[in-house]
Amino acid sequence: MSDLEIWIVIVSLAIATALTRSGFWLVGHKVTIPPRVQEMLRYAPSCALAAIIAPDLLLDGGGTVQFDLGNARLIAGIASVAWFAWRRRMLETIIVGMLFFTALRLLPGLLHSYS
């Protein structure tokens, strides 16, 4: 792509972000959402967060599900869930999870490859 085309892409990405993020803030008070849909939407943030992280925890570089001890991300993720459930400290949990992940990654010959 030429320099100009890349800048057009960047501006179009900014427009896509503004439309989705701010669009409803601007016109939302003119739209009524049925109560049933509103009730359902309460579950949207947690489902979206789960959908964002699940592929990172479960898929390897080739897009195959790795559901075993060779998956460093999954093991480190489970360890962080346990740590957070116990301590309720987010920063601690991130550090523990990264230490787990790095330690597992450095163990030779055990892990699937992630590229």
Binding site: M1, D3, W7, I8, V9, I10, V11, S12, L13, A14, A16, T17, A18, L19, T20, R21, S22, G23, F24, W25, L26, G28, H29, E39, M40, L41, Y43, A44, P45, S46, C47, A48, L49, A50, A51, I52, I53, A54, P55, D56, L58, L59, G63, V65, R73, A76, S80, V81, F84, A85, R89, M90, L91, T93, I94, G97, M98, T102, R105, Y114
Partner: protein, 249 residues
């Protein structure tokens, strides 16, 4: 309450928002570094990468656009991909917008544009109801502005580090861990837990769908699951109550 009270700067609420979001800033910053590095590694120049992080401010959309740019995909395809990845923000803004409907439009535009996944989740945990309350706007700003700053600082560091950070360090994983911490308290009820597990499964199974449609499918199927579980539970409780009363008679 007047709109004045609602929007007046409340330093205590701002600090409260900042403290609530503080532990996530490390993960957000690390995530920013990864996206910054990824932009440079995919061949963007430093001004292009800086422009992208400052104008777009949507990590997952940026990451998805990079291979498409490298592959010379048509611009409309990249635009549609970004729209679909960001569709979850439409759902978030449906939840958040009623809280701030009385603010002037430019403030709504600005606050909406910087509202990220984690900030929205943390905000809704504190204020589930849309009724105006003092300090709400300041609390939201205390979440959003530091979150945005952490992201931008991380991205800019990533852009200038460029190729110096080895990919295998897996710095982006810190962002995933930050989300894990927010998610755990959110699944305290059976419907929420079921919804989250189903959403996770769908997102993995549908990961290959184009334009990241799997993410959207996961959110929709997860939401519906949670709702069905909730209603089944309600009905069972109602039935048990009915039977209990019948036994007393």
């Amino acid at each position: 309450m007047s709109d004045q009270d609602f929007a007046t700067h409340d330093p205590a609420a701002w600090r409260d928002g900042f403290r609530t979001g503080l532990p996530t800033l490390f993960g957000i910053g690390a995530w920013g570094v990864v996206v910054g590095v990824a932009m440079i590694k995919s061949g963007l120049s430093i001004p292009q990468a800086l422009g992208m992080t400052l104008l777009v401010f949507a990590g997952s959309a940026q990451l998805a656009a990079l291979p498409l740019i490298a592959a010379n995909a048509p611009i409309w395809v990249i635009f549609v991909t970004a729209l679909v990845i960001n569709l979850r923000f439409v759902i978030f803004s449906v939840l958040l917008a009623p809280h701030f409907a009385s603010l002037p439009w430019h403030k709504r535009l600005g606050l909406g544009f910087v509202s990220g996944d984690i900030s929205v989740a943390l905000y809704l945990q504190r204020y589930p109801d849309p009724e105006p309350a003092p300090g709400k706007v300041s609390f939201l700003k205390g979440l959003l502005y530091p979150n945005c700053a952490a992201w931008q600082i991380g991205s800019i560091i990533g852009i200038f580090l460029g190729n110096a950070v080895p990919t295998e360090w897996g710095l982006g994983f810190a962002g995933t861990l930050a989300i894990v911490c927010i998610l755990v308290p959110m699944v305290a009820s059976m419907p929420a837990l079921c919804g989250v597990l189903v959403a996770a499964a769908v997102s993995v199974l549908a990961a290959d769908l184009p334009y990241k449609l799997g993410l959207l499918a996961a959110v929709v199927v997860g939401m519906v699951t949670a709702m069905v579980v909730e209603e089944t539970g309600d009905r069972r409780r109602a039935k048990r109550k009915e039977n209990g009363e019948a036994n007393h008679v």
